[in-house]
Amino acid sequence: MMKEAKQPFVFYTRLHLQELTSRKARSLKELLENIREVSGSVIYHHTHSFLQRYQSLSPEPPNDFAYWVGEVLGEQKLAEELASIDTIQFSSIRALRNKLTQTIASHIRQMERTGQGQFRVASRQEQFHFVKSISFIFPTPYLAHDLLEFVEVLKKVTINSIYFHVFEAKLRLEKSVNDFSFWIDTNLDMPALAEKLARLDPYTYNLQGLRAKIIDSINNYIKENSK
């Protein structure tokens, strides 16, 4: 008999619309200046849109800044540094923005100090355009009253719903942990499973892979605890 949750889990989803900002960058310095000034929704867009646009690609390219710096400006070292920023560690866009600016500023200082490298300017065709994400959040018809129902719904909901509860809730809505872990811990009293899901680094999976990993973890937990 599955333990019933104190409150059912209501699956929400979110859909994005992109809004143009008219801001552009053709060089590292312009990129840095804009990253400092744009709204949090712009930073969010460029550090997360790859995940959504390339849902089945593995390993997915890390973020728009890293991709552009590497592919267009040819700054491979900086691209690697930007790609390896551990996004899961940040609980707010503000903190993530600080890390991005520190990384780029330090690279620029090093180039200026050593005289090594060359500040490249992208062609107009390949300049970086700053875009922001407008998120629309709404409930789906799906509810889960226990862990079995929860895992069944996870198989059915769109990837947008999983994305919302794992990424958006934590970073953009500044919750301390993803929604799945929070509910499993506080409503099902299963701290070990909650902890396991909280420890996942979702940025290292593509979205379908992430769905499979969460389902797998829950199924294993159910199997182990039904022995």
Binding site: L20, R53, P61, I134, I137, R172
Partner: protein
């Protein structure tokens, strides 16, 4: 087509999401207005989207402005100027354009919750907005305005900024405007003749009819005969590749009888290809969607060696057919192709030839790029995504924050 027809392609939960969004707009009267009911990309997309939006429970209508030949020759000039052509707009042309706007304002029913105006021809209709306080007005620009002629842009801007919001197809087209600018990429319809699945027999029939033998790898570029698509450069690429790998080239495109430059380019291409039986130059009539579909599906590698592009839907079509694509990093192409993930980007003739050789010699790699490219299109550039973003756009008119709970 019905929404249910798209379910096997995108999955039931995507259709469910559309229905859920549409419930929040139920009964809203959305009036689309453009300048033509047939022909051209705008009419084509409206023809597909309007019935689906109605099936979702919105009251979506589509009206067309009236105009005489002279009006349309002026708006054709607008179009070229928006592409950057350096010509002057004359006072009598402006006068005639404004007069047409006034005539249509008098004669058209402009009631509705959302007035969705497409491209510059009907742009003047926004004058009615001041008398309709509850209506929202949207201006959708389908044209490449990367570097518009300053005169035409300043003129149109006085109207654009009267709208509640604008929509562009690519980040490159973003402008300095006082109103919100949304980004909605075009899309392809996976069930249209140009994109639907074809059997091997259907593909073979088309090749037979066009006298192409599938006995060696096929490199194809589909695009109109225009210097901006660099068909002469495509022949250079083919010749560089042919030195090492036996292959054939197809250059397929529409014939534009009203465009003298198109005929000139076609002549130059034919001249350059002379004497090589492995170069197939196909000037196809506008009704050749099935033929284009079959040619893309029969190809080993697809090129889009453009010098300048709008969004490049020919690339979307090729990716949807799981073909490896080598394309120039211009216009909307980098939105569709991330280099070495969903296709290959190139900037020179030699570079393009290098990548084509790699693809011809590494079929597994080519197949993998094609697979990822197809999934990328499934998630981002099909009609259902376009439909979803139009619904979100309509909702955005009633909300102004970056995070909206609906």
């Amino acid at each position: 087509m019905k929404l249910a027809d798209y379910e096997p392609i995108v999955g039931p939960n995507i259709i469910e999401e559309l229905k859920s969004l549409a419930r929040r707009l139920k009964g809203k009267l959305v009036r689309n207005i453009n300048s033509t009911a047939v022909g051209g990309g705008v009419a084509e997309i409206l023809m597909r989207l309007v019935p689906l939006l109605n099936e979702l429970g919105l009251d979506v209508r589509w009206d067309v402005i009236k105009g005489e030949e002279r009006f349309f020759s002026i708006t054709k000039k607008f179009h070229n100027m928006l592409h950057g052509k350096k010509v002057k707009l004359l006072p009598n042309e402006i006068e005639l354009f404004l007069k047409n706007g006034e005539d249509n304002l008098k004669n058209m029913d402009l009631s509705g919750d959302i007035l969705f105006i497409h491209d510059p021809q009907p742009i003047v209709l926004v004058k009615k907005k001041q008398f309709q306080k509850k209506s929202k007005w949207l201006w959708r620009c389908h044209i490449d305005v990367t570097e518009p002629n300053e005169q035409i842009w300043s003129f149109l801007k006085t109207f654009i900024e009267q709208y509640d919001a604008s929509v562009f197809s690519s980040p490159n087209f973003a402008q300095q405007l006082k109103i919100r600018q949304f980004l909605i990429a075009p899309s392809i319809d996976p069930l249209s003749d140009k994109n639907k699945d074809l059997s091997q027999n259907e593909i073979a029939d088309v090749l037979n009819r066009l006298k192409i033998a599938a006995d060696k790898p096929i490199i194809t570029q589909v695009s109109r005969f225009d210097y901006l698509k660099d068909p002469l450069g495509v022949i250079d690429v083919y010749r560089l590749v042919k030195k090492y790998t036996d292959c054939q080239l197809i250059l397929a495109g529409g014939t534009a009888t009203d465009d003298p430059e198109s005929a000139l380019v076609l002549n130059k291409v034919t001249e350059k290809a002379q004497g090589d039986p492995d170069i197939h130059i196909l000037a196809l009539p506008p009704t050749s969607d099935i033929e284009i579909n079959a040619l893309q599906r029969a190809s080993t590698v697809i090129l889009q060696k453009s010098v300048r592009e709008g969004f490049a839907l020919t690339v979307t079509e090729a990716l949807w057919k799981a073909k490896p694509v080598v394309a120039s990093a211009v216009g909307g192409i980098p939105l569709q192709i991330k280099h070495e993930f969903s296709g290959l980007l190139s900037r020179t003739t030699e570079g393009t030839a290098y990548w084509v050789k790699q693809l011809l010699n590494s079929p597994d790699y080519a197949q993998n790029l094609g697979r990822v490219g197809k999934e990328h299109v499934r998630q981002n550039f099909l009609l259902t995504r376009h439909l979803r973003e139009y619904l979100l756009l309509f909702l955005a008119l009633y909300h102004h924050s970056d995070i909206v709970n609906i």
